[in-house]
C-alpha cells in the first residue's frame, strides 16, 4: 500500500474511533446502541445542506453537529430508554436502517440517492486529532467521577445500582447525550474527509465496523474503542490483498471470535487487576487460564 493510501486509512481509523467512542458512551451505561451512525448522518447531512445553501462555516458545522447530536441523543433516550435491552438495541439498528430511507427520500435536503458534496476544510489531521483528544479527555475525566462510577454500577448490575440511589434511566440519558455529541461530530468529520456523502455513507457497514472496534478494543475503558478502531480499520486493508472483496467477511468472523474468546476486549482493566492479584498472592500456576475466579457458591437449600 502506498504512503498516501496509508494516511487515508489512518484518517478513517480516527473517524471510526470517534464513532466507536460514541458507541462506548452508551455501552458504558449498559445500553447497546447503534444510534451514533444515525446521529452522524444527521450531523453530516445538516452540515452539507447548510454549507451548500447558506455557506455555513465548517467550524460552525462541527459545533452544530455536536449540538444537534446531543439533542437527538436526548430525544432518542426519551423514546427508547424504557425498552427492554433487546428492543432497545433493535430500535437503534432500525434507526440506522430508517436513516437510509430518509436520505434517499428527502431529496431536497440530502441529494437523494445521488448524495451531496461537502466542504473538506475540516478533513485534516489537526481537526481529527483535536476531536479525538477532546472526546478522550472528556471520557477519561468522567471515568472516576460521580457519573462514571454510577455508569459502571448500572452496567454491571442495574438493580443493585438502584438500591444505591442511582436512577439507571437518568444515567443512560446522560450516556445518550454524550453519545449524540460524539456521533454528530464524527459524522461531520467523516463528511469532511470524504467530501461526498450518500445514502450508504452512514449505513450498516459503518455501524458494523465501529461496533466491532468497540468489542475488539474493549468496552470497559475509554481507550478500548480507540485501540479497536485503529486495529479494525487497518486490518481489512491489510487483508484486502489476500481476501479481495471478502474482507468484510473477516470483520464478521473476527467479531464472533472476539465475543466468544476475548469478551471484554483488548483493553481490560479487570484482567490486569486479576493478574496483579494472582501474582501478588501466589506464584502463577501452569495451565491456569480460568478468566473468572469462581466466587464462593451461595448455598441454598
Amino acid at each position: 500500500m502506498s504512503t498516501t493510501a496509508w494516511i487515508t486509512t489512518l484518517q478513517f481509523a480516527g473517524v471510526n474511533a470517534l464513532f466507536a467512542l460514541s458507541i462506548y458512551a452508551t455501552l458504558w451505561t449498559g445500553v447497546l446502541s447503534l444510534a451514533p451512525i444515525f446521529f452522524g448522518a444527521v450531523g453530516a447531512f445538516t452540515f452539507g445542506y447548510l454549507a451548500g445553501t447558506v455557506g455555513l462555516s465548517p467550524f460552525l458545522g462541527l459545533v452544530l453537529g455536536v449540538v444537534l447530536g446531543a439533542a437527538l441523543g436526548a430525544l432518542t433516550a426519551a423514546l427508547v430508554i424504557r425498552l427492554d435491552s433487546h428492543y432497545l438495541a433493535m430500535a437503534t439498528i432500525a434507526m440506522v436502517l430508517i436513516g437510509r430511507v430518509l436520505v434517499v427520500n428527502l431529496t431536497e435536503l440530502t441529494g437523494g440517492a445521488a448524495g451531496t458534496l461537502v466542504p473538506g476544510e475540516l478533513g485534516t489531521w489537526l481537526w481529527l486529532i483535536g476531536c479525538l483528544v477532546v472526546a478522550g479527555y472528556v471520557l477519561a475525566r468522567l471515568a472516576k467521577s460521580r457519573f462514571g462510577m454510577a455508569a459502571d454500577a448500572v452496567r454491571e448490575d442495574a438493580a443493585v445500582a438502584q438500591t444505591l440511589g442511582i436512577s439507571p434511566r437518568r444515567i443512560q440519558l446522560v450516556g445518550f447525550v454524550i453519545s449524540g455529541a460524539f456521533g454528530g461530530a464524527a459524522g461531520v468529520m467523516q463528511a469532511s474527509f470524504l467530501q461526498y456523502i450518500g445514502p450508504d455513507t452512514f449505513y450498516t457497514h459503518l455501524g458494523f465496523v465501529t461496533l466491532a472496534a468497540v468489542v475488539l478494543g474493549g468496552a470497559f475503558h475509554w481507550a478500548g474503542p480507540i485501540v479497536g478502531a485503529i486495529v479494525f480499520t487497518i486490518l481489512p486493508e491489510l487483508l484486502k490483498d489476500v481476501m479481495g472483496e471478502y474482507d468484510r467477511v473477516v470483520t464478521g468472523v473476527l467479531l464472533v471470535v472476539i465475543i466468544i474468546f476475548v469478551p471484554r476486549g483488548l483493553v481490560d482493566l479487570r484482567r490486569v487487576r486479576l493478574l496483579r492479584a494472582r501474582s501478588r498472592q501466589d506464584p502463577p500456576r501452569a495451565g491456569d487460564d480460568s478468566a473468572r475466579p469462581t466466587a464462593p457458591q451461595e448455598v441454598t437449600a
Binding site: V138, S145, D152, L164, R273, R292, P293, A295, P296, V299
Partner: protein, 290 residues
C-alpha cells in the same frame, strides 16, 4: 387463614402511638404464580432497633426484604419508612428515603476494586456535576478525596482486611459480605437491610458482625437482618419475626419466640427434642462455618 400471630407483650412490636416506626410493613402480600411467597405480613420496627427475620428456607424472608427495598412490587399491603409511604416507589427512590441493603447471594460489581465498590455507594452523598468533573474543578478534587477517605474509613469499620485496590470479586467470602455492608453504609442509610450477613462465616467472624451491628445501631441506624444463626440472633437481636411458608408465626423477643411450639415445629419438625435442636442450631450457622 393461619391462626392470628402471637406476640410477646413486652417486645415493642406493637407500634407506639406517637413516634412513627423506622419501618412499618402492613399486610404485605406477594404471590409468584400460584405460590404465596408472602401473605399478609405485618412488621413494625422502631428506630434504633436490631430486628431479626427468621424462618426456614423458602419462608419468604428475602421476598419481604425485596419488597421493602423496592426490588419487587407487593400484590397488596403497604410499606412506610419513617412515616413516608414508599409502596410502589422504585428502588432508587426508596434508597433516597434512607434504605440500604445487602444481598443473600453476594452481588458485587464485576471488575471494580474494593475501594471503587464502596465509593460507588457514595453516589447520593456526592454533589459534583458533569462539567465540574470534566474541568476537574477544585470542588470535584476535594470531593474525590473525601469519598476515598470515607470509603477507607468504612472498610476499616466493617473490618475488611484486603487491600483497597484488590478486585472485590477476588476477596474471601467473608470480606465480600463486609464490602457489601460498606457499600450499603456509604449511602448513609437510616435503615440497613441485611440478608444473611453471616452466611459462610465462622463463629468468630459472625460475632464480629454482631458487634458491628451494635456499633451501627449506636450511631443511629435501624437494622433488619435475616439470620439463620440462632446464637447470633439471641445475642444481638432485640426483637424477631418468625416466618414460615409466607405467613408470620410469631413476633417478639427472640428467646420468647423460639420457645413457641409452632416455631419449633416449623424449624425442626414435630418431634422437637433438645438434642436435635442443638445439632440443628450448630448446622444452621451457615455453609462455610464448618
Amino acid at each position: 387463614m393461619s391462626s392470628p400471630t402471637r406476640s410477646a407483650p413486652d417486645a415493642g412490636v406493637v407500634p407506639d402511638a406517637g413516634a412513627p416506626s423506622a419501618v412499618s410493613i402492613v399486610d404485605l402480600t406477594k404471590s409468584f404464580g400460584g405460590l404465596k411467597a408472602v401473605s399478609e405480613v405485618t412488621i413494625q420496627v422502631p428506630t434504633r432497633r436490631i430486628h431479626g427475620i427468621l424462618g426456614p428456607n423458602g419462608a419468604g424472608k428475602t421476598t419481604v426484604l425485596n419488597m421493602v427495598s423496592g426490588f419487587i412490587q407487593p400484590d397488596k399491603g403497604s410499606i412506610s419508612v419513617f412515616g413516608d409511604e414508599v409502596t410502589g416507589l422504585s428502588p432508587h427512590q426508596i434508597a433516597r428515603h434512607g434504605v440500604a441493603r445487602t444481598y443473600q447471594n453476594i452481588r458485587l460489581f464485576a471488575g471494580m476494586t474494593v475501594l471503587e465498590t464502596v465509593a460507588a455507594g457514595a453516589y447520593l452523598k456526592r454533589s459534583s456535576t458533569i462539567p465540574g468533573a470534566i474541568f476537574f474543578s477544585p470542588s470535584e478534587r476535594r470531593e474525590r478525596r473525601e469519598v476515598r477517605d470515607r470509603a477507607t474509613d468504612l472498610l476499616r469499620q466493617v473490618g475488611v482486611r484486603a487491600e483497597p485496590d484488590a478486585l472485590a470479586e477476588t476477596l474471601s467470602y467473608g470480606d465480600q459480605r463486609r464490602v457489601e455492608i460498606a457499600r450499603a453504609l456509604a449511602t448513609e442509610p437510616r435503615v440497613l437491610l441485611l440478608d444473611e450477613p453471616t452466611a459462610g462465616m465462622n463463629d468468630a467472624e459472625s460475632h464480629e458482625i454482631g458487634e458491628l451491628l451494635l456499633e451501627l445501631r449506636g450511631s443511629g441506624l435501624t437494622l433488619i437482618l435475616i439470620e439463620h444463626n440462632m446464637r447470633l440472633v439471641e445475642e444481638f437481636c432485640e426483637s424477631v419475626s418468625v416466618m414460615n411458608s409466607g405467613a408470620m408465626l410469631a413476633q417478639g423477643a427472640p428467646s420468647w419466640c423460639l420457645e413457641q411450639d409452632d416455631v419449633k415445629e416449623a424449624y425442626f419438625g414435630k418431634r422437637s427434642d433438645a438434642a436435635r435442636i442443638a445439632t440443628l442450631r450448630r448446622a444452621r450457622r451457615g455453609p462455610g462455618g464448618s
